[in-house]
């Protein structure tokens, strides 16, 4: 019985001893951004289609601990996505304008710049090893790629959907495994869900006739998963 009573005290003592090692940190982070939902659809006929593919993100993150476990985390990051489905766009315009051929040139890219802050919880599970959780909110400045469409039958018919920008509320939440390599350096492996819903106003140039896919706005969630690796400086 005495032995059984000793166990929780031993565990508690161990946690206290490792939590005492919790330090503030700041570091660089980067990894994969895997979007999902309508933002990744490539259906020409669906105005919700965002034609985005996976990309990457890079940024600076840091946590200031207010207690041994709780802190405030901040993140400033650039998050870029690829483009897919340009062929679907070209085929769609060719069909809609009943032309011999159409060429679509994607201008710019889809990306977002995030400035987020929120609560952070660090759970020490072993010496120098932590499981961290965070919920971040803030501003996402998003950018939507544009395109130019060349109608081969008639060069004067070339038209464009201009790239667009919009700011929106941004959310990012997830877990991380953190290991302190030394007294001042650590590495982290993150998995975060991200989401924002910017309301883009899209302008079009040289749309002489009302035919074919025309996007005048785009207000769909930009969400998905970030898988990141971070190098942090502990202090």
């Amino acid at each position: 019985m005495k032995q059984l009573l000793k166990i929780p005290f031993t565990v508690l003592a161990a946690l206290v001893s490792v939590s005492a090692q919790a330090q503030h940190f700041i570091g660089v982070t980067g990894g994969l951004s895997i979007p999902s939902g309508n933002f990744t659809k490539t259906d020409y006929a669906d105005s919700k289609s965002g034609f985005a593919s996976g990309g990457g993100n890079i940024g600076v993150t840091g946590t200031y601990f207010l207690t041994k476990h709780f802190g405030i985390n901040g993140l400033v990051s650039y998050q870029g996505y690829g483009f897919k489905g340009a062929q679907d766009l070209a085929d769609g315009y060719k069909e809609d304008f009943e032309i011999d051929s159409a060429t679509v040139l994607i201008k710019g890219r889809n990306y977002g710049i995030n400035v987020l802050v929120g609560p952070y919880y660090a759970l020490p599970v072993a010496r120098n090893f932590f499981i961290d959780a965070r919920v971040l909110v803030g501003i996402t400045s998003a950018h939507l790629a544009g395109n130019e469409v060349y109608i081969e039958d008639q060069s004067d018919g070339t038209f464009a959907q201009q790239a667009a920008s919009a700011a929106a509320f941004g959310l990012q939440a997830g877990l991380a495994a953190r290991y302190n390599l030394s007294r001042h350096f650590g590495i982290m492996l993150h998995g975060d869900y991200f989401s924002s819903k910017p309301n883009f106003t899209v302008s079009n140039t040289n749309r002489a006739n009302e035919a074919g896919r025309v996007l005048t706005g785009y207000n769909q969630p930009i969400s998905g998963i970030n898988l990141n690796l971070s190098l942090v400086y502990l202090f």
Partner: protein, 189 residues
């Protein structure tokens, strides 16, 4: 060992940065496809506005658009009464198919970039006014329906052309390409 870790990590970060920054343009081409439909037949059906029983039909036919033979113009004429107004419907058919395919509806669905033009030979006392409009803003004429107003007696040619004007339609006949170009003889008696 620690330095190796750090260098490795920084290398991964640098690669990610380049990966996310590059590949800013992507291009895709939808190439031409063989086997488009033919417009073998153009038909004009003219109904006298004051006499619905007075219906005149003209038909221009060339069943093989690829050969150099002359079109069948044996029915390519309209006999109209002088000083009258006729409501005219223009139809385009593909008679290489069985049964013949009426392409007119497809043109009507794509009216925002199609225009039928009427070119009247000098000396023929005829006025043509298109009466149907597309859904562009502002709406532009289409020409699948028109009013023919006749004047004094006489004969002459009426050239009917179907213009394909993808994203360049502006109400004029000049922009775009021509899908069909046929001639009818108009006899005003």
């Amino acid at each position: 060992m620690k330095k190796v870790h750090i260098v490795l990590l920084m290398s991964v970060m640098t690669c990610l940065l380049f990966w996310t920054s590059c590949k800013k343009e992507e291009q895709a081409v939808a190439p031409p496809e063989p086997g488009n439909e033919f417009l073998t037949t153009v038909e004009l059906v003219a109904t006298n506005a004051n006499d619905p029983a007075d219906v005149q039909t003209g038909k221009w036919v060339k069943l093989n658009p690829d050969d150099t033979s002359a079109p069948d113009i044996s029915q390519a004429f309209l006999n109209l009464k002088k000083n009258a107004v006729y409501h005219v419907a223009v139809s385009f058919l593909d008679e290489t198919q069985t049964p013949a395919e009426d392409v007119t509806e497809e043109i009507r669905e794509r009216q925002n970039y199609h225009l039928v033009c009427f070119d009247i030979a000098p000396g023929l006392d005829l006025t043509v006014h298109r009466t149907d409009h597309d859904t562009n803003t502002p709406a532009l004429e289409v020409g699948l329906e028109a009013d023919f107003t006749t004047g004094d007696a006489g004969s002459g040619d009426l050239e009917v052309t179907l213009h394909h004007q993808p994203n360049v339609k502006n109400g004029d006949c000049a922009p775009g390409s021509i899908d069909a170009d046929v001639n009818f003889t108009i006899n005003i008696n």
